[in-house]
């Protein structure tokens, strides 16, 4: 077991990018995701003496970042964010490939809990048990969400759904 908790800089370097990717995938706006994640790190720094002693400071950060993003999106749904969700292809983020935009747009069509489960599973690398604990539902429910989300994404993206592991 590592007896030295990570420094703030180490935590930032290891997780700023990943957290931004997760929020970008969920909300569809990369710059907003970056702003929210930076604010989450500011809050972590303000409480660093406490946070650094947590067993899992990353989990705290992720929760704060998601809560900030949800609050922000509920308060200020900009026309751009709305357009990203409604209209496929072209707009917004600087130069993503068509496949990446398609994935973001396809994710946007999922029910929020399905979308969140997919992001946490495939971008945050959480286990089904961890997602279940975070969402406060049984593991079977998470498996169902993931299955239905994969089916919907596959259909939307024009891929064939394989056997679910």
């Amino acid at each position: 077991m590592d007896s030295h908790p990570p420094s703030f800089d180490e935590l930032y370097a290891a997780h700023y990018g990943d957290l931004t990717v997760q929020l970008y995938a969920y909300f569809g706006d990369r710059q907003e995701a970056q702003d929210v994640v930076q604010e989450a790190f500011c809050r972590a720094y303000a409480r660093w003496r406490t946070i650094s002693r947590y067993d899992d400071p990353v989990s705290w950060l992720r929760r704060v970042a998601w809560n900030l993003a949800l609050s922000k999106w509920r308060r200020t749904r900009t026309a751009l964010a709305f357009a990203l969700r409604q209209h496929p292809a072209e707009t917004a983020v600087a130069g993503p490939t068509p496949e990446r935009v398609a994935l973001i747009d396809a994710l946007a069509t999922l029910p929020p809990v399905h979308r969140r489960a997919m992001v946490l599973r495939y971008l945050a690398d959480l286990t089904i048990a961890e997602i279940a604990e975070r969402e406060g539902v049984p593991e079977g429910t998470v498996k169902s969400w993931l299955h239905r989300a994969r089916t919907a994404l596959a259909e939307r993206l024009g891929h064939e759904e394989g056997v679910t592991r």
Binding site: C42, P96, E99
Partner: protein, 208 residues
């Protein structure tokens, strides 16, 4: 599993990470300190006023309080605070004013107090590793011996100096090198009549 969808997520992560330009941990530190500076600037006047009111209560009681208070047993605190000693309040305000405009001369943290008694200590947490100027302004009689010590405990002195107290404080500047992010402590010892009379304010500012 849907390997192709999993691959899309992996590609999304790779491509997005390549495009992200993170503001950096330093930017988070700056943002947090700026918020603390604003809170310190907003709170210091209030802190000085509150402390000054407290001193005013003691002085009024000692010198003969208004009749309503004189009838109370000395051990009881008055329910309503009397007006603060105007002279002490004026000194507190003078010291506060001497700090300057934080918009023009930003500080990392600032506060003020009245020398209630001969000794004062302030434990300041989360001062970043850096070199600072500590400006101390003292209004009133006497002088203060100011000492800065490292960390929350121990006797490692980072800076020390004498601050003359004046009716219009001009201030004394000390250079403090914080060896690592964390605590430091400021001690002030009143001399030559400054105890229970002088008011002071101090600020940490960056040297660049």
């Amino acid at each position: 599993m849907t390997d192709q969808i999993e691959e899309l997520f992996k590609d999304l992560r790779t491509e997005t990470l390549a495009k992200i330009i993170a503001p950096g941990p330093g930017a988070a530190r700056v943002a947090v300190r700026r918020k603390r500076e604003i809170r310190a600037a907003a709170g210091s006047v209030l802190a000085v006023a509150v402390v000054a009111v407290g001193v005013g209560v003691v002085r009024n009681h000692d010198t003969g309080a208004p009749a309503a208070q004189a009838s109370r047993p000395p051990a009881k605190r008055p329910v309503q605070q009397p007006a603060p000693d105007p002279a002490v309040l004026a000194r507190a305000q003078a010291a506060q004013n001497a700090l300057g405009d934080p918009n023009r001369h930003p500080w990392v943290m600032a506060t003020g107090a009245v020398m209630s008694g001969a000794d004062y200590e302030n434990d300041i947490n989360d001062i970043g590793e850096d070199k600072y100027y500590l400006y101390v302004f003292c209004a009133g009689p006497g002088r203060l011996q100011v000492t800065i010590k490292a960390d929350q405990y121990g006797d490692k002195v980072l800076a020390t100096g004498t601050v003359p107290c004046q009716e219009k404080p001009t201030g004394t500047r000390l250079t403090v090198t914080q060896p690592h992010t964390g605590y430091l402590r400021l001690f002030a010892h009143a001399e030559d009549g400054a105890a229970d009379a002088a008011a002071f304010a101090f600020k940490f500012a960056r040297t660049d």
